[in-house]
Symmetry: C2
Subunit: 332 residues, 2 copies
């Protein structure tokens, strides 16, 4: 093999030349292509509020066709134009979902729970990621002392249960808004609702049935855990609550669904009324009140439907507002 004839060399050279001209030259080790990673970073983020530790753990994203009535008081063309201005896909309802956990030092709290295991299966993990991202962040769901629920829509409560119907947070008390419970658990109201519109009523019974021994109810302006105070912000649903998370001089407004669905759309256009706001005039009033407060106090705002990590400041922008994401810190 050491010896080679002139013919061999020429043949080899000719073959290499032909390979080059056809783009067929085999890559060397150094030129070999590394495979694409194909995976996203774990979708969590952590920050401190005074001595409290907040873990933002994304539940994921859904993309569905844009209904004509997605915004109740705007034609679809106007919605699409606004989506374009926000660099969002037209003719689609693009929703992000981001619950949080708060370690107060004495209690481990989760606020809302995401779309749950059924949606995780249905979307092949694009949504229903909350428990997985919480685990990736090092938060043990078995150590959660309290789950605080803001309101009874499925993207906030369905993650309370595992696929087999057992409690996803087996050692946690579940705190729910008293007026929200009163509204959705009222059998007479459910029975007077057309059957096709009973979904939230029946789903609340499905979710809270197995958890009834764990459920406690809260009202307005209550300290639900050390540093976490309830704030009644109705409109999106009759008993919708937001929260102030505070420690020392730091505080964050956890606004939940004060803007819901495509939140950036309704931040920019706060008078637009999504079809899923139950009392649309009240929802607009609540939205403007909270954002005016956030603007004047330069508050950090954590929004369930904001793009991850969903912690921002709010500024005035024309007749509406704009989100200014808080800078990502490489360490806490």
């Amino acid at each position: 093999m050491i010896q080679s004839t002139r013919r061999d060399l020429l043949t080899g050279t000719a073959a290499a030349g032909a390979a080059l001209s056809l783009g067929m030259l085999a890559p060397t080790a150094v030129e070999a292509a590394a495979p694409a990673a194909g995976t996203q970073a774990p979708n969590f983020y952590r920050y401190k509020v005074g001595t409290l530790e907040v873990t933002v753990a994304m539940d994921g994203k859904t993309v569905t066709p844009l209904a004509d009535s997605y915004v109740a008081n705007q034609p679809k063309d106007a919605v699409n134009a606004a989506l374009g201005g926000l660099y969002m896909e037209k003719d689609k309802a693009t929703h992000y979902y981001t619950p949080i956990a708060v370690n107060t030092g004495s209690k481990l709290i989760v606020i809302d729970t995401g779309l749950g295991p059924a949606m995780a299966a249905q979307t092949k993990g694009m949504a229903g990621q909350f428990l997985a991202n919480l685990a990736a962040s090092g938060v043990d769901r078995n150590a959660v002392d309290t789950v605080i629920i803001s309101h009874f829509h499925g993207d906030h409560i369905n993650g309370l249960l595992n696929a087999d119907g057992t409690a996803a947070f087996p050692n946690a008390e579940v705190m729910v808004p008293e007026p929200e419970w009163a509204f959705w658990m009222d059998d007479a109201r459910m029975n007077n609702t057309p059957e096709a519109q009973r979904g939230n009523f029946t789903n609340a019974r499905r979710v809270f049935g197995p958890l009834s021994a764990k459920v406690t109810k809260y009202g307005d302006n209550k300290e639900l855990a050390p540093g976490i105070t309830s704030m009644f912000t109705p409109g999106h649903t009759p008993g919708h609550f937001s929260f102030i998370v505070a420690s020392g001089n730091d505080r964050v407004l956890v606004q939940v669904d004060v803007t819901a669905g495509m939140a950036p759309l309704f931040v920019k256009n706060p008078d637009w009324t999504p079809g899923f706001d139950s009392d649309k005039a009240l929802a607009v009033q609540t939205r403007r009140k909270l954002y005016d407060m956030a603007v004047s106090e330069k508050m950090m705002v954590q929004g369930f439907h904001f793009p991850f990590p969903a912690v921002t400041r709010v500024e005035k922008d024309g007749t509406g507002y704009r989100l200014v994401p808080v800078a990502w810190e490489p360490a806490i």
Copy 2:
């Protein structure tokens, strides 16, 4: 233990009552506090540009006292006022550093390298994280085919070497801008520079000395790797380059240090001239030209000194511009 007297029960009740009133009730297992996690998420993020895969891997953050001359043409008071408006800490220079990797399918490319191992040691890992975050993201530095350098400041080139002076990307070609090399490697120019201002000259020799056999030079409007094209954007340094990363209909402007240091400050105030821009008038001209292009084409812009993940769109804002971060996607 099954039997208990009425006295025992009463005593127990009384003791529990006393403990409660003093706040001394021992926590049960369920009430035990979970320890704070204390760690941040791995600081990487991934997105596609057509068929190309971009991995954003943060190098970290530095915070230093704000020099009076940080902005050459503005008094410190004006700078502090602007920082307040951007929710940034006053009297500090807060810098973020974020290189990227691009897998083109046939080549694995890194663009700039961060502050390197000396800064990692000095900041206890707050900066100099690039290699660690790249590894966490699943990108093997040994598989990197090419490192493209934008300009010769230390936060872009120091990560080329390990602490022992060997190549951090041992199998990579190192592509450097021809005019940048010509400027900093000119011994006559170095010798005519006052000794106290020779840092970038001597550092370039320190870094590129061990790599000289790997270095190749590039000029303007060259395809440096499949889909990655050089764009001469001088001002910050004499030979500063940006890049267009493009595939199919997608493209991203990798602007590097077109705004540098506290980038959000100079995005908002593009005519303010940081002390470290070498040709200040040219830097302003380059900045406005690139951002006007980004605004009109709604381009995605990846900025080395933008807050992580540092991929944004740019909009007009008064006499300046504003960054609008691209929404984080839970999967790629």
